[in-house]
C-alpha cells in the first residue's frame, strides 16, 4: 500500500500543482522519493515534529494547496490531535492525513505503534471524512478522490506493505460515501474495511463451502457512513458479520448496530473487533489478532450461523 500510495501521489502531483506532501521523518525509501525529487518545493519533511506537520499543511491549505500529511498512523493522528481538530477540521481545510500501518500490523513494536481507536477518534471530529480502502486499487481511487475535492479534511487509514489486490473482480465500482459490494449473495453479508478485507474474503470462501450465499462488502468510507446502503444490507441479509481491526467504541460495528436499532432490523449481527485493552505481547500479526480473538481461526470458532 505504501509504495502504491507514493506512486499515486506522484501522478496526482504531476497533474495538479496544488498537491503537496508534508511528512514527518518517514524513510526516504520507496517511491515517495520520486515526488520529493520532482517537486522539491512541494515536499516538506518536518522531521520528528508532527504538530508542525499538521500546522504547516493547514497553512498551505489556507493558501490554496491540497496537502497530504503522511506518517505512521498513531503519530499522524494522535500526537498532533489538537492541530488536526483546530487547524484542519475547525477551519474545514482540504488536508488529507494519511495514517500508514494502522491497526496492529506493527506487531512487535508494542502498543505505542498500534492504532486501534483511530476510526473512532477521527470520526468524532466535525467536518472530518474517514476513509479506509481495502486494497491498493481502492486506495488509488480514494487518494484521487482526496486530491480532487475542494474542501474538508480527510483521515485515510492505510495498511503497511504487500497487500494483495482484492477488488479486481468486484461487482461494484468505488464510489465515495457508498458501501461497495465485491460480491453479492443473499444469506450472509460480511462487511469490513481496510486491510482486514483479506480475512473477510477468506471467511466468505469458508462459508461458501458450507453452501451459504455470501456478500462481501468494503466499507471504505467510514464517515460519512452510507446509512441507506447499510439499511439495505440489513434488509437483504439475515446474518451480518462485521469485522474490524479496531476497538468496539465508535467503530463500524457499533454504528451498524445503531442503524439496525433505528430501522428495527431483525438481522443477526455478529461483530468481531479488538478488545478494549492495550496489547503488551509480541509476536506475529496473527499472534496479536489471536490474543484478541480476532484471528481467522478464532473468528471461525466463535461464529454462530
Amino acid at each position: 500500500m505504501r509504495n502504491k500510495f507514493a506512486d499515486v501521489i506522484y501522478q496526482q502531483g504531476k497533474i495538479d500543482e496544488r498537491i503537496c506532501v508534508v511528512v514527518s521523518d518517514i524513510s526516504p525509501a520507496g517511491s515517495i522519493e520520486k515526488f520529493r525529487k520532482k517537486f522539491p518545493n512541494r515536499f516538506i519533511n518536518c522531521g520528528v515534529a508532527e504538530q508542525s506537520m499538521i500546522g504547516i499543511a493547514s497553512g498551505l491549505a489556507l493558501e490554496g494547496f491540497r496537502p497530504f500529511c503522511y506518517t505512521i498512523a498513531t503519530f499522524a493522528l494522535y500526537r498532533p490531535f489538537e492541530m488536526v481538530r483546530v487547524d484542519m477540521c475547525y477551519q474545514n481545510l482540504p488536508v488529507t492525513v494519511v495514517g500508514m500501518g494502522s491497526g496492529i500490523i506493527y506487531s512487535t513494536l508494542g502498543g505505542t505503534h498500534h492504532t486501534i481507536e483511530d476510526v473512532s477518534i477521527a470520526s468524532s471530529l466535525p467536518n472530518m471524512t474517514v476513509l479506509a480502502p481495502c486494497d491498493p486499487d481502492e486506495m488509488k481511487l480514494a487518494t484521487e478522490w482526496c486530491a480532487k475535492r475542494t474542501k474538508g479534511p480527510v483521515y485515510m487509514r492505510l495498511g503497511k506493505v504487500g497487500e494483495p489486490i482484492l477488488t479486481k473482480n468486484s461487482i461494484e465500482k468505488f464510489k465515495f460515501g457508498k458501501i461497495r459490494y465485491l460480491q453479492k449473495g443473499n444469506d450472509v453479508a460480511i462487511i469490513t474495511y481496510g486491510t482486514f478485507m483479506n480475512t473477510a474474503i477468506k471467511l466468505s470462501k469458508y462459508l461458501e463451502e458450507k453452501k451459504k450465499k455470501v456478500s462481501v462488502i468494503s466499507c471504505h468510507t467510514l464517515k460519512p457512513l452510507d446509512y441507506f446502503g447499510i439499511k439495505k444490507m440489513l434488509n437483504d441479509h439475515d446474518n451480518i458479520i462485521v469485522l474490524e481491526e479496531h476497538v468496539l467504541h465508535g467503530g463500524l460495528g457499533m454504528q451498524i448496530r445503531n442503524i439496525s436499532s433505528i430501522e428495527k432490523s431483525r438481522s443477526r449481527i455478529q461483530h468481531f473487533h479488538l478488545k478494549d485493552k492495550f496489547i503488551h505481547t509480541y509476536g506475529s500479526y496473527e499472534n496479536l489478532l489471536d490474543s484478541h480473538e480476532l484471528s481467522y481461526s478464532k473468528i471461525i470458532r466463535n461464529l454462530k450461523l
Partner: protein, 272 residues
C-alpha cells in the same frame, strides 16, 4: 523593511487611544473580553495593519492573530478598514452576532481561526512557504503571546521556518511577561533569555519597546529580511489603565461601572 508611506505616528497614537476607549466601552456590555492582552498589543497590531501590511494588485500580505484572545483590537481595526460593520462590533459575543472572543476563519478579514495557543506559527509557516511555491512577494505577519512561546509546537514550526528559509515571515512577540499564574520572570525563569533562544533557531531577533511606535518604526526600517524575523515587543499587560497594568486578574475580567469610569478618565491621562 519598508514602512507604508502614509503611516503617521501621531495618527497611530490617536487610533490606539481610540481602540482602548472603545474596548472599555464594549467591556460594559460583555463579561469576557481579554482587555488587558488587547491593550498590550495595541501599538503592534496598529503598526502591522497601517504601517506594514501591503496590498498589491494580485495579492496581499497576510496577518495572523495567533494570540486569538486579543482579537477585539483586530475587530476594531477591521471595522475601521470596512471589513466589519459597526453592527458586527455592537453584537460582539451576543447571540445574533458573528464575532466571538477568538477569531474565526471565514469572518471577513480574518485569515485563520485561532484561540488555542501555539497554532499560529504553523499556519504562518505553511502560508509563507505557499507564497514561496507560488513565487508571490507577499509576507506573513504574525503576532504571538509569550505564553505561546512556551508551546512546543511554536518552536517546532520556528525550526521549520528556518529550514525553509522563510524570509517572508515576520513574527511579533507581544512580550508582556504576564500570564495567568503571575509574572513569567518569576513563574518560568528559564523562559529567558528569549532573544538568544530565537537567534539559536537561526532567526533574526530584535527587542524593542512594543508601545513605542517610533522606536519600532526606526528598528523595522533598519531590518533586512534575509531569514525569518522575530520582533520582541516588550509590553505591559493592561497598558493604558493604571490599575490594570501588570495585574493578571485583568486577563479576562471586565471592569465594573466604577472601575470603567475610573479607567476612562485614567486612560486619557496615561496616553497624554
Amino acid at each position: 523593511m519598508l514602512i507604508n508611506k502614509e503611516f503617521s505616528l501621531s495618527k497611530s497614537a490617536n487610533r490606539c487611544f481610540s481602540y482602548r476607549k472603545r474596548i472599555l466601552e464594549i467591556s460594559q456590555t460583555v463579561s469576557a473580553l481579554h482587555a488587558a492582552g488587547a491593550f498590550s498589543c495595541a501599538e503592534i497590531i496598529d503598526l502591522i495593519y497601517y504601517g506594514l501590511k501591503k496590498e498589491y494588485k494580485n495579492y496581499s500580505d497576510i496577518f495572523i492573530m495567533s494570540k486569538g484572545h486579543s482579537c477585539i483590537i483586530q475587530y476594531l481595526i477591521l471595522n475601521d478598514l470596512g471589513f466589519l460593520t459597526k453592527k458586527d462590533i455592537d453584537s460582539y459575543c451576543k447571540s445574533r452576532g458573528k464575532l466571538g472572543c477568538h477569531p474565526d476563519y471565514g469572518t471577513p478579514g480574518i485569515q485563520a481561526s485561532t484561540g488555542s495557543l501555539g497554532h499560529g506559527m504553523g499556519l504562518a509557516v505553511g502560508i509563507a512557504h505557499g507564497f514561496k511555491i507560488k513565487k508571490k512577494k507577499s509576507k506573513v505577519f504574525l503576532i504571538i503571546s509569550d505564553g505561546e512561546l512556551q508551546e512546543g509546537s511554536t518552536w517546532e514550526c520556528m525550526m521549520m521556518a528556518a529550514n525553509l528559509k522563510l524570509d517572508n515571515l515576520v513574527c511579533f512577540l507581544d512580550h508582556n511577561g504576564s500570564q495567568s499564574f503571575g509574572k513569567t520572570k518569576e513563574t518560568h525563569p528559564m523562559f529567558y533569555p528569549i532573544e538568544m533562544k530565537v537567534k539559536g533557531f537561526n532567526w533574526n531577533s530584535y527587542s524593542v519597546n512594543g508601545h513605542n511606535t517610533k522606536s519600532m518604526v526606526q528598528l523595522l526600517k533598519k531590518i533586512k529580511l534575509n531569514k525569518p524575523t522575530m520582533i520582541i515587543g516588550n509590553t505591559v499587560k493592561g497598558k493604558g489603565v493604571s490599575f490594570m497594568e501588570h495585574k493578571p486578574i485583568w486577563h479576562y475580567r471586565s471592569p465594573n461601572k466604577d472601575e470603567y469610569n475610573f479607567a476612562i478618565n485614567n486612560l486619557k491621562k496615561v496616553i497624554k
